[in-house]
């Protein structure tokens, strides 16, 4: 009994080790200046982004203890990206759900119209407050 408990706790503590986040932009051929902006922040350890003609979605993964300042980091980054892309609508989110949705968009590799719909969906998601 005791051994099994120790084994369980060990497995739990080892399970906390996770792989590092990568940096992905979709569509990948889009040469952007997004990378240097985000890399300046040392509170962010990875991001996934989707870009079309009208909007930029950036899902960032914030370091564990910097999550207390999540809204501040999001706001700051939004302002900086808006400066770099003044013609586009910017949404920066540290939310795990947005991250998963962006990941699923990158996996699906949708066409232009579908991409627009999916981006609208995520935008309405992040506005939801109830």
């Amino acid at each position: 009994m005791k051994k099994s408990i120790i084994f369980f706790l060990l497995a739990l503590s080892l399970g906390a080790c996770s792989s590092a986040q990568e940096q992905v932009i979709f569509p990948s051929d889009d040469s952007t200046s997004l990378n240097p902006i985000i890399q300046k922040h040392d509170t962010i350890h990875g991001y996934k982004s989707v870009i079309n003609e009208e909007a930029i979605l950036v899902a960032i993964s914030i370091n564990r203890f910097d999550r207390f300042n999540k809204t501040k980091i999001e706001k700051k980054l939004t302002k900086q990206i808006e400066k770099a892309f003044p013609e586009k609508e910017v949404l920066v989110s540290g939310d795990q759900k947005v991250m998963w949705e962006v990941e699923s968009i990158i996996e699906q590799k949708p066409k232009k119209e579908d991409l627009k719909k999916l981006i609208e969906k995520i935008k309405s998601l992040s506005k939801e407050e109830t």
């Binding site: 939310d95 759900k97 998601l125 939801e128």
Partner: protein, 151 residues
């Protein structure tokens, strides 16, 4: 024999309270409950259109529902015997307090029995929860208006 001597003897004879073990048990049981809550949150985020900010409400509802079933079947009592405060502090403890009171007074009728006694234990939690939330919101509003912090 005066009061102090008597108290001394009582203290000697009483079994020692295992504070440290109780704390460890409460930590583990409370941690397991919160881990289950986190898993439910991830479930709602994965399969339903909830974000981190909005997934809290259905998670609380689900946890209280689970606590209801466990209270009705008498399992929560056993968990509370082991876990102590670890099972009382999370929202499941609140659910347990409401539901056990409702079950207890069921024989007195649905309106005066269940309705009247349901919040006997948990009513104070709701009252002071709402009151302290109001006070905290008031303080924050004042601080924001002064300009010390931002929303």
């Amino acid at each position: 024999m005066d009061q102090q001597q008597f108290q001394k003897i009582v203290d000697e004879k009483n079994p020692k309270v295992p504070y440290f073990m109780n704390i460890i048990k409460a930590f583990i049981v409370g941690g397991i409950i919160c881990t289950i809550g986190q898993l439910i949150t991830f479930f709602y985020m994965r399969f339903f259109p909830f974000t981190e900010a909005t997934a809290g409400n259905p998670t609380v509802a689900t946890l209280v529902f689970i606590a209801m079933i466990l209270t009705g079947t008498g399992i929560y009592k056993k968990i509370a015997q082991v876990g102590g405060a670890g099972s009382a502090v999370p929202v499941t403890g609140f659910g347990n307090a409401v539901i056990s009171a409702a079950i207890e007074h069921r024989s007195e009728g649905y309106v005066l029995g269940v309705g009247g006694n349901m919040f006997k234990l948990a009513g104070s939690v709701i009252l002071f929860g709402v009151l302290s939330a109001f006070v905290v919101a008031l303080i924050k509003t004042i601080l924001v208006n002064i300009g010390v912090i931002s929303w």
